[in-house]
């Protein structure tokens, strides 16, 4: 059973719909026992960084997640803001601490070198990925759907794919059992469903 963590932010039903479509059993929950019993976790996200951390704190989810992810090494997939919350510091409208799961990582505003490019970065974009379990059987220039103004910055070895928007930006990461995508696999047609399947089946 996969638990989609409900922290009061995010398109949780879209994520559940996608998992249902690939035949995966999943629930939306923030109950401690559900999270403890889950085989894998998904931290979805459509939200602002500060609000995301505040909502996790208010629901007392941080100690539970720290234990499941850092101690028990349960696989977790963060989507969009969900992934961004894994960092040490977020610079969206101020400076805020994140979950701190990825060393020397930050979330920063996308500033493309071409000032004609629109921000937020919205739409379908080709990504370039390394060999990674999440991208198994997906061609290297696969398209995914992005909608964001901020991106995750971290050490090169954790970055599993990038996209180009007058500059290269992180589109996915992996640190051991911690996975994250900046794009929305639940909204990226067949490529996204395949990626979710890869996460579910690993």
């Amino acid at each position: 059973m996969i638990v989609i963590i409900d922290y009061g932010l995010g398109n949780v039903l879209s994520v559940l719909n996608a998992l249902t479509a690939i035949g995966c059993q999943a629930i939306i929950s923030n109950k401690k026992e559900d999270i403890l019993n889950a085989s894998k976790l998904i931290l979805p996200g459509v939200g602002a960084f500060a609000q995301g951390m505040k909502n996790l704190r208010e629901r007392n989810l941080i100690p539970i997640l720290n234990n499941e992810v850092l101690v028990k090494k349960k696989p977790i997939l963060g989507i969009c803001l969900g992934m961004q919350l894994f960092v040490e510091k977020g610079f969206e409208e101020g400076t805020y601490n994140g979950l701190g799961w990825i060393k020397n990582s930050t979330v920063e505003k996308i500033i493309p070198s071409d000032s004609n490019l629109k921000i937020p970065h919205v739409g379908w974009e080709n990504t370039t990925h390394k060999e990674n379990i999440l991208f198994e059987e997906l061609p290297s220039d696969s398209e995914f759907y992005f909608v964001h103004s901020y991106y995750l910055k971290c050490c090169e070895e954790f970055i599993t794919s990038t996209f180009n928007y007058a500059g290269d930006f992180t589109s996915s990461i992996q640190v051991e059992n911690i996975y994250g995508t900046q794009f929305h696999p639940e909204k990226s047609q067949k490529n996204g469903l395949k990626l979710l399947k890869n996460f579910v089946n690993m």
Binding site: L9, N17, F49, V122, G123, E125, K190
Partner: protein
């Protein structure tokens, strides 16, 4: 580089899908009869608007979004009658991925910044309905295109951008449902003065209008809303047309 998007806009009035002509709506087909047959593979994004002219019942609208989103794996932007951050959340929990506001942004501009602080600006789409007045000035109308706010569209775009909107859904009431193509001047100027993405809406009657919109302006997405585009393979044809016109749109994963 991010691709141009082909968007289908679904207009919902109570229990029906509707067509609109200069914002006069006509019920076309009952939702229930068509929902299962919707195929979203040829399009890149879906916009769903509650265009009920009397009370816009949000809970019922959320039910519709739940149904439509069940088998829809492209982004859904939904709106119509959204008045609060709570309403944003209700729709996001019903299968929407981005939220559209219009009249409520005009009546209560701080909703834009409140929603931005909660959900991030990428989740906040401001829909703007405009009509040209006698002296050629494009004015913003609220309440389903009925009330003239006397706001200049370009000033309003700058205002909502500063407040934290993440996208503009720009509809020309004059061109809506007429089938003569987009108001190119309006879109071109809107794109020029803002740094957030603009979606062009209102006027598509034939496929060449879609490519014209993308070629003659730097708009991020083109929307079509006539329900007859649903019928047969019209959406597939629309996508094919854009690819053949050399536009950088997402490549479909199915065979033509």
């Amino acid at each position: 580089m991010v691709k141009k998007r082909l968007i289908l806009t679904l207009l919902i009035n109570q229990e029906s899908f509707v067509n609109s002509r200069n914002f006069k709506i006509q019920n076309i087909i009952n939702l229930e009869t068509i929902v299962e047959h919707l195929n979203f593979e040829a399009i890149d994004e879906l916009v769903i608007l509650n265009v009920a002219r009397n009370e816009k019942k949000l809970d019922r609208f959320c039910e519709h979004i739940k149904e439509i989103s069940k088998n829809c794996f492209i982004p859904i932007a939904a709106g119509g009658g959204v008045k609060s951050v709570d309403d944003f959340n209700k729709l996001l929990r019903s299968g929407a991925d981005k939220i559209i506001i219009n009249t409520s942004a005009i009546e209560n501009p701080s909703l834009i910044s409140d929603a931005k602080n909660f959900f991030g600006s990428q989740c906040v789409i401001v829909s703007i309905d405009v009509k040209k007045n006698g002296s050629g000035i494009q004015e913003v109308f609220s309440h389903n295109g009925v009330v003239n706010t006397n706001k200049n569209v370009f000033e309003w775009i700058k205002t909502v951008e500063q407040l934290g909107a993440g996208e503009i859904f720009l509809t020309s009431i004059d061109m809506d449902g007429i089938g003569k193509g987009y108001d190119i001047d309006l879109i071109r100027k809107a794109v020029e003065i803002t740094s957030i993405p603009v979606i062009a809406s209102g006027g598509v009657g034939e496929l060449s209008h879609l490519s014209k919109g993308l070629k003659e302006t730097d708009v991020s997405a083109v929307s079509l809303a006539n329900l007859f585009h649903f019928i047969g393979h019209s959406l597939v044809k629309a996508k094919k047309h854009l690819i053949q016109a050399g536009l950088d749109v997402p490549e479909p994963l199915w065979n033509f």
